[in-house]
């Protein structure tokens, strides 16, 4: 393999953004025909920037791209596609009300406003493509009604339909369930068999280990190295990625849980469309315990969290915190009673992006006496508080007055965790606490949740990341269509059992 010329080479790519940020400092990567190359790096390492340059979405400040030995320069994604390079983005670019067929042929309808679209021909061509690859998507259902995994396959099909032979996948598994990931990998292997070349962007070590042939690791805009996957270990890759050894295992000493802090009884909650999103849940979280809820996203987890955090109406049932009925209480009362909430949507709920770190550091506790001076807010005290959070949680921020949107995702999340912990809660809800967060911050946040548990707090962890739930929970439930398929201990259950429950098969009855 080493001897052949790469099908694609990006040489000495430099990208400096107008604000002076050096996203790439001379990156060279080589991709060989028919291989799956992993592009591994933390959030903000420059993976996506590099691929956007390849796909013609960004112009490099310096550097060259060679396709089959010939220098190329793409002015737009359409240009890249015409040259056989396709990209599937982390955030999908589908028209939600269109069906798969319409989405796939979008932009290829032919010229002229009134020219006829040859739908039947397109359908035939697509069907043939799907048969070859041995994966099917429903062509006539509006994509908004399809699961994310299927939407992603539509995105892939969209590219293949355009005859690309180099496919870039940007964090393709971020939104998928474990089963969907397995299915995706099957598709990728099939594509590889057919001679397609794939660039797989990820920060998940296991996935890179499983699917790729070679891995190029990028850190802070530079290539750290390229290794053959068969010669690599997760530990080696982790070290390359973060520049130090990452404790991939979380230290979790055994602990006897204490009294019941939080209890939910026969809880029913409606979703936005009036459907029963949560259907009769009953569970409890004890002091010194992490209770995890796993499951495919969209099975009522969000509605459950919002209902217990005072943000959504409870239709039926009761919620108790430290023995007090808190059903229907407002967030402010709940926080004053010792609840804290790391929300799943940090940019739309957890933070006010335009406001400063300081202002964000007191959200949900701004009424506390410690921050006021008569009827004025004591900004000096707030600043001290914000500085304390930044220091304790190693949040890297330009300053307390900087708008929160200038922080990276991982640091934004650390700021939220820091703020919520500073409320000194007895019960903390952690919803998707490490989603879209870099490895180092993930490790930090996970260890912190364990620390809270060790300090006898009750933690409710809701996460679509199965590994996270397995690793952190003392007990865990698997949620499916608003119900628990079972409550189990992570070390007494196999991955297959969990997979089944996530797919809606009830676990062994627990008495």
């Amino acid at each position: 393999m080493e001897e052949q010329t790469p099908v694609l080479e990006m040489r000495d790519i430099v990208k400096v953004y107008p604000d002076g940020t050096k996203a790439l400092k001379g990156v060279t990567i080589k991709v060989y025909e028919g291989e799956i190359l992993g592009l591994l790096g933390e959030n903000g390492a420059g993976k996506t920037t590099l691929m956007k340059i390849l796909f013609g979405m960004l112009k490099p400040t310096r550097g060259k791209i060679f396709l089959r030995g010939k220098e190329v320069r793409f002015k737009s994604p359409a240009d890249a596609i015409a040259n056989g390079i396709g990209m599937v983005h982390q955030h999908f670019t589908l028209v939600e009300v269109f069906n798969a067929l319409e989405n796939i042929i979008l932009g290829m309808e032919g010229h002229g406003l009134l020219s006829k679209i040859d739908v039947e021909n397109a359908r035939k061509k697509l069907q043939k493509l799907m048969d070859e690859l041995n994966f099917q998507v429903p062509l006539d259902v509006p994509v908004e009604n399809l699961p994310v995994g299927v939407q992603q396959r539509i995105e892939i099909l969209k590219m293949l339909y355009r005859d690309v032979d180099i496919l870039i996948l940007d964090e393709p598994t971020a939104v998928l369930t474990p089963i969907e990931v397995r299915e995706l990998f099957a598709v990728l292997r099939k594509l590889k068999e057919q001679g397609k070349t794939i660039i797989f962007i990820s920060h998940k070590l296991n996935e890179v280990m499983e699917i790729t042939d070679r891995v190029t690791v990028i850190r802070k805009g530079e290539v750290v190295g390229t290794v053959k996957t068969s010669e690599a270990t997760p530990q080696l890759l982790a070290r390359m990625m973060v520049g130090r050894d990452v404790v991939l295992r979380i230290e979790k000493p055994p602990k006897e849980p204490g009294e019941v802090i939080f209890r939910v009884e026969d809880l029913w909650v409606k979703g936005d469309r009036g459907e029963d999103a949560v259907r009769g849940l009953t569970f409890e979280v004890r002091a010194g315990e992490i209770f995890g809820i796993a499951g495919v996203e969209g099975n009522g987890q969000s509605e459950l969290i919002e209902a217990i955090a005072g943000l959504r109406k409870v239709e039926k049932g009761k919620v108790y915190l430290k023995g007090v009925d808190i059903t229907g209480k407002r967030p402010r009362e709940l926080y004053d009673m010792g609840m804290a909430h790391i929300p799943e949507d940090r940019t739309h709920m957890g933070l006010i992006l335009e406001m400063s770190v300081m202002e964000n550091s007191i959200l949900g506790m701004h009424w506390r006496k410690e921050f006021s001076k008569g009827f004025l807010l004591d900004w000096n005290k707030v600043e001290e508080h914000a500085k304390r959070l930044i220091e304790e949680f190693e949040v890297s921020a330009p300053g307390t007055k900087a708008p929160v949107k200038s922080l990276s995702g991982g640091n934004q999340q650390k700021l939220i965790v820091a703020r919520e912990v500073s409320k000194r809660p007895d019960f903390i809800i952690a919803a998707q606490p490490t989603r879209g967060v870099d490895v180092a911050s993930t490790e930090y946040i996970r260890n912190y949740l364990v620390k809270l548990r060790n300090e006898n707090k009750a933690v409710l962890l809701v996460s679509a990341d199965l590994d996270e739930v397995l690793q952190l929970s003392d007990r865990m439930a698997i949620m499916y269509e608003g119900q628990f398929m079972g409550i189990v201990k992570p070390d007494e259950v196999t991955e297959e059992q969990i997979g089944l429950m996530m797919g809606g098969v009830k676990g062994e009855p627990q008495k």
Binding site: G364, H366, S372, F375, L376, L377, W379, K401
Partner: protein
Amino acid sequence: MNLKNELRGYAKPVAESVLAILIGVLVGALVLWFSGYSPLEAYYWLIVGSLASTDGIAETLAKSAPLILTAITFAIGARTGLFNVGAEGTVYFGAMAAIIVTQYLQNPIAGLLAGLLIGALWALPAAVLKVYRGVHEVISTIMFNWIAFFLVSWLAVSVYYNPKDPNSTLPIPPSARLPLLIKGTSLSWAFIVAILSAIIVFIVMWHTKLGYELRTSGQNPRAAEYGGINPKRSAIWSFVIGGMTAGLAGAGLVMGTPPSYAITQGLANVHGYGFDGIGVSLVGRNHPLGIIFAGILFGALSAGATAMQQHAHVPLEMIKVIEGIIIIAVAVPGLLDLFARPFRRGEA
């Protein structure tokens, strides 16, 4: 250190507004030129009329007072995520309330309080409709402006008319008028009231819990709710405080503007301030302190316009054209970036 950081935050919006003003002046010059007037002569008299004499300055500041107050109404709304254009009608009510109350309580404080209170009350219907029934505030406040116009017109013509002068309402009794700051001009305490209001609103919005809650609700209502803030309560407060300043604007207008100290026929002398305030607020970047400067600028344009008409024979309306250009220039997002980019490219 703190102050320096804070000032840096203000640098960009200030620069953007200054740039917009320059564009307004330049494009205005072109319009004047094409219309057959001498831009130099026009601007000369504009400046002389507004800034070159004590009288001019007094007139500038006097004109700015109601604009500052109605601009604040809009700014508080904008900061809370509301597009409150109800200042216009509230000004009429504030003026009428001051006239009515001072007939009985002949004291300036009573008059101002009347304007303040009626402003708060008149804001409530739109607030309640918004919060509990989801009626969009633009629709409701525009409608309420018309209700206010006809209601106050009726009061002016049929109830509180001046028996000695059918063209105006009863005047504010002399003992309830706002004292003049400079004798022989129309600059009264109304200006001080406007400045103080701007400062108080600044403190409320940036240094109290209430202001924090209002701004949070405006930026991100979901985050506000999550943060234990009731966005509905924020909206109501926003309407009420905004109503107060617009009410004050109306009261100040009749209590502090010689010689009539009354509402004139067709509400002519209290008309238009609410809508002009929107432009002032935009140029002042919806910030109370920026609004003070923008208000004075618009006051100067309006004060200088008279001299411009008298000496350069440029019609008064031309000033509205210049104001309009300034506002449009402010509204162009990223205006400054547009101008700064060619220079930055040179650096890289």
